[in-house]
Structures are given as C-alpha cells and as structure tokens.
Amino acid sequence: MKNNLYTVVLVAFVFLVVIPIIYTLGVALFVEDSFSDNMQLLMDKNTFLLLFKSIMLASIIALLSTLLGSILGFILYKTKVKFRSFFKIALLIPLFISPYILAVAWKDFFYFFFNNTSFISSYFGVILVLTTIYTPLSLLIVGSALSNINAQLEESGLVIVNLRRVILKIILPLLKPALLSSFVLIFIFSISEFSVPAFLGVKVFTTEIFTQFSAFYNHSLAILQSTLLILICILLLYSERKYIADAPFFSVGNKGTSNKLYHMRNQNRLSLLVLFTWFIISIFLPFLILFIQSFKNGTTQFIKAFELLMLTFSQSIGLAFIGAIIIVFVGFIAAYHSTRQNKTQKRKSFDWLLLIVFTIPSTIFGISLIKFYNQPKLDIIYSSYIILLIGYVGKYSFISAKLIGNAIKQIPNSLFEAAQIEGIPFFEQLRKILFPLIMPTLFVAFIISFVLNLGELGTSIMVYPPGTEIMPIKVYTIMANAPQALTSSMTLIVFSVTLLIITSFYFMIKPFIKKNNFVND
C-alpha cells in the first residue's frame, strides 16, 4: 500500500517533469543536425572563461552570504540580544522578494544618493545584491543548526575553556555540515541567477546562455551550455552529500535538545548594531527607495498599480496555493522514502531526480515543457494551468523534500516501532504520530513553496496559457515601459500581498502548531 503510493508519485513525477527534460536534451544532443557546430561553439575558450568567472562570482557570493549568515545566526540564535524575535523574522524578508526588483531598487539607490551607478553596475553590484538576498537563506540554515546543538556539548566545553574557544573548537566544527550546505545551496542559486547580472550589465555564464536564446535563437546550444551548469551543480551537491553524508541540510524548529543562549554583556550593543546595520542595508534602504518612488508624485500610480494587479490576485494565489500543496506532498513522499525506511530499503533515486530538475535553469525547463507538452494529445495539460503547476512542482519540490526529510530524520525510529508493535496501521501511524510531529516543518515547507510559486517567473513566462493573468508575469511585462512610480508601486503591492497571505496562513495554523509545541521546555 505505502509503496504503491510512492511508486505512483514517482512515476507521475518522472512522466510529467523528467521525461520532458530528457526528451528536450535528447533532441538537442542527437536529433538536431547542428550538433557538431554547437559542440564546437560550446568548447570555445570564451565559454570556459565565462564559466570560470561565474564560478568565482558564485563562490564569493556563497562565501560572503554564509559568513554573514553565520554571524547573524550566532547573534540571533545564541545570544540574548534585544529584539531577537523581531529580527529573526524581519531579516528573512529579502528571500520573499524577486531578485530583479531588489537589483532595480539598489541601482536607484546608488543613483539617488551618489548620483552614479557605475559602482553598482559591476561585479561588485552583483555580489552586493545577491549577498543581501541569500544571506537570509544562510541565516536560516545556520540558525536552525545552531539551535539544534545540544547544550550539553557546549556546556561541557565551557567548564574547561572560555567562550571564544568553545565557539572555535566546538560550535564551529558542529556547524560544518550546515555551513557547507549553505555554501553549496547559495552557490547553486547564484550561479543560475540571471536577472540580476543581466540588469546590472554584468556578463556571466547565464547571460551567455540567454544570448544564445534570445539573440541567436539557438536553443540547442543554450541547452548544451545549461548542461554544463547543471553538471557543475550536481557535482557540487554530490560531493556535499558524500562529505556530510546525511547530516541535516536545513531544518526548522528546535527538537528535543534545549538551546543554550549566551549572555554577552559587553557585546550586546555591538550585536544589536550588527543586526540593525544589516536590517538597514538589506531591507530598509531598498524599501525606502521603492517607497519614495511609489509615492513621490502622489498616489495615482499606486492606485493604478493596484487596479492592474487586482485581476491577478485570485488566480495567482490559487495556483500558488495548489502548487504548494502538491509540492509539499511530493516532497513528503520523496523525503519519507529516502529517510524513514530501513537502511536496506532507502530509496534515493527520487531525491536525486528532484535535485537534478532543481538545478536546471528556468528558461531551459520552460522550453522543455513546451517542446514536450505542446502536442495536440497533451493539449489538456499545455493549454491549462496544469502546465504551470508542473513547472512549480519541478522547480521547487527539491527544497520541500529537503526540509521535510530533515524533520523526519530528527524523529527517533523507536516512536514508530512502538506503534508498530502495538499494531497501529501504517496510515494511522502517519496521521497520528508522524504528521503531528512534523507539522511545523510541513507548514514552513508549504509557506516557502507558496512564496516561491507566487514569484516564479522564469519558467511561467515561457508556458503560461494565453489569456491568463499571473501576478509576477504581469509585474514583469507591465514594468517594461511603465513609469518608475508604477513599477515601484507594483513591487510594493506584490510584497505586501505576499506578506499578508503568509501572516494569515500563520494565524490560521497557529493554534494547531501551538498545541503541538511540546518540545520547547
């Protein structure tokens, strides 16, 4: 029974998501006659130079973000700094905003205050913008790892040496898997990021792929180039997995162990200053600019922006909602079977499939979906919302599977064995033991998927059914020649709506999570 469900979901995923990619790749590699020409173009010295540049850039961003995320994480999760709970939430905000919009805000910011944008239109700019976006991700990963460290491990160190050495010799080594995960994940995100370098006029590998697409219409070469990118990402993730084996990737909530908080009297002000500065840089300044631009000429543009977007709300939110439910479901099935089962029965293949699809650039994924689904027999999929849902599920199930997998891993197996001995049927075990225990994580996975779906642009714009109104696409296409105030207003609205929905979801589910808040002694 339980394996049947797994098989059904796995097969569905393979057919709906993986086959289109393999099909497109196959066509690009073996069918199109320009293959040898493209191979030659691919093997060009410049391609590799650019790839090298991109790798360097992504490494710097990943390194910086991980460093900053660790510092912020330590302050927020390990010290009794003031306004802790506020910053814990507030500093995550950049994750919920489209990178493109932040890039626009930053460029305007530099113009507004320094009258010069050459500073930001450079590698430095890409690093700045992407680091502000991905630091919260690192904060999330490192923060949860920090709060999961058993206090006794630190305390047993503290009785012998001072705090500095405890941090260096105990906490840091324990954090290594989380730091590595943070680096790898951010590296992948940055190396596949297109909109920010494109907007800032910095040439990287993704913009090169893009050029093949939209200036030369050479799909095959673009697909070949993307495979290079995908290979790098997979290699990295593979080595990460080899190295840290099954150490938690990133997880939510603090289970079981009590978290040790330090009281650092001297550093308290400094900590607060760091948090505050980062808040100003990553959130306040970009928003200030958006706000100024939205309202400097009154509210007419804001109202217009609202009218334009109003039509998209219900469709977009509905789609993101359904997509998030499917993603959590798929993520759960994949995670359950790669973590929960006995060692001999572990199935990692689903996990790997999710990962591979995750690393594929959005545009290529979109093209794959078109090439595969655009045939009369599959019209029901291609000309309906299903195609968008397939896009969402393909792109984001990996993240949800990761989150849920780690939550499941933290539950001792004996809880299920005890139920098994009592003769509790499998689905009752899921319903009454597993689900209540991972509910907070399921909720977080749902929220993250929802937010990602709601902002998904790269794939959606390739495949959205004619005549439908999808929020990020509308923002993007309207943005083109619209006055600055309209663009900024739309950004503000999208952001507020997202925040509003998340908050209301939270309050809807809060009593349920609260009830099960049994682990925080």
Partner: protein, 247 residues
C-alpha cells in the same frame, strides 16, 4: 516460550550474532546481560520482529514467527510489548493518550470500541503505577522515572504475553531504579490484569540483573557465554563473568 535457533545477524559485513541459539522460558524474567556491542539489543529486536536475521528461526509459543529473512508473523501479532531504551513516548500526546493510543488505534480494535472500557483500562494502569495525577501531562513535563513508568504502562495495557525491555532504567538513580525494578518483579510474579507475563530484560548492569532476574543469559560478542539462575551465575568462574563482577 521463545526459541531462537541458529541465528546469524549482520550489520553491514560485521556479524553481530553468530549462529546463536537460545531458549527463553515462560513466566520468567530473563535478563540478557552483556556489555555494549554484545548483541543483546539485537536479540530483543529480532524477537519483536523489528529486524530480520540473515539466517535462523525464531518461534514464539511454538509458532515460527521469523524464518531467515522472512517475517512470518508481524510484530503486532506476536503478543509482545516493547519498552525502548529511549522509551519512545510520543511527545505530542499526553500520558493518557500515550497509553490509550494502541487501544484506540490498533487494527483489531472495533470501530466503536467502548470508550468507557478504554478509559477504565488506562486508569487502572495509571493507578497501579501511581500516575493518575499525570494523565494530562506531556512526556516532557515528567521526570525520568515517571517517563519509564509511562513507557512500561503503555506496553502493558495491550496485555502482551511477553514484555521486551531494552535497558529501560539507564540513567535513573539507584533508589528509583530499585522501586521500578520491584514493580517489574511484581509484574512478573503476579498476574495483575490477568497478565501471564514473560519478561526479557536487556541490561549491561549485573546488579540490576541480579536483583530481578529469574534467569540470566550472559552475552559477549554475539555469543552466549553462560546461562543460569542468579545463584548459578554468581558461582560461575567464567572469566568473562569475573571481569564483569570486578567493577
């Protein structure tokens, strides 16, 4: 009661149990005594059906329950209770719910199983262990000893014929340990709740074993070193036992 014949069990390439045969008699408290890595917990899990051996046969009450890698009778049809080393109390359920969980949710429970009956069964059990006042508490609100008792109650409430206990008393202070051991001993000697209980008790602590066991099985590196009553074991001049007794 329980018979293990020629059991070999591997973890990876390493043999944990090597051609082991063992007979556990009914209505007794049998202690599996051994240091960590001796394979005692594995034996318990094999009896429970949580794991399968590479080869060998396990039978309970003359029914073959496991044959080589095959589970013939699933854990919940073996009439066993299992107290895990980490106790495995469901953290999101209250003490009452933990104990009642199996009564309410097991496959064999009729849909409309009388609520009053469940209620009474659970409270009888709580009464016996002096836990009434904690019924609505969550596991994390209990002390170590209370948790152990809840875990034991939970396994007993389904009226098993065999109770498997995996070092349930580790990390308890001596006084509490003695109290709980007395409870367990009482359990095995009387037939409370109409139980006719055989207990298999895994420990690395010989004092614990000497205090409660009817019979002791001494294990080392997956092999049986010695079997006998407390007195017999005490008198034995097995070198392994001597090492054991030295500290």
């Amino acid at each position: 009661m329980i018979k293990l014949s020629n059991i070999t069990h591997l973890y990876g390439d390493k043999a944990v149990l090597q051609d082991l045969s063992l007979n556990i008699e009914a209505n007794q408290l049998t202690c599996l005594l051994g240091s960590s890595g001796s394979g005692k917990t594995t034996i318990l899990r094999l009896i429970a059906g949580l794991e399968t051996p590479k080869s060998g046969i396990i039978s309970i009450e003359n029914r073959t329950v496991t044959q080589n890698k095959q589970i013939l009778i699933p854990p919940h049809h073996r009439h066993i209770g299992f107290v895990f080393q980490d106790l495995a109390l469901w953290p999101h359920l209250t003490v009452y719910e933990n104990i009642a969980f199996g009564l309410k949710n097991r496959e064999t429970t009729p849909k409309q199983s009388k609520k009053d009956h469940i209620n009474k069964t659970v409270f009888d059990m709580l009464d016996f262990f002096g836990l009434q006042e904690y019924a609505e508490k969550y596991p994390h609100q209990l002390s170590g000893g209370q948790k152990q008792l809840v875990a034991i109650s939970r396994s007993l409430v389904l009226k098993p014929k065999i109770l498997l206990m995996d070092e349930p008393l580790a990390n308890l202070d001596v006084k509490l340990k003695r109290k709980i051991l007395q409870h367990i001993k009482n359990l095995s000697q009387s037939s409370i709740f109409g139980l006719d209980l055989s207990i298999v008790y895994v420990t690395h602590d010989h004092k614990e074993a000497f205090a409660i066991a009817d019979k002791i099985v001494v294990l080392d590196k997956g092999e049986i070193e010695e079997t006998g009553t407390v007195e017999e074991i005490k008198r034995s001049n097995n070198k392994f036992m001597k090492y054991f007794l030295e500290y």
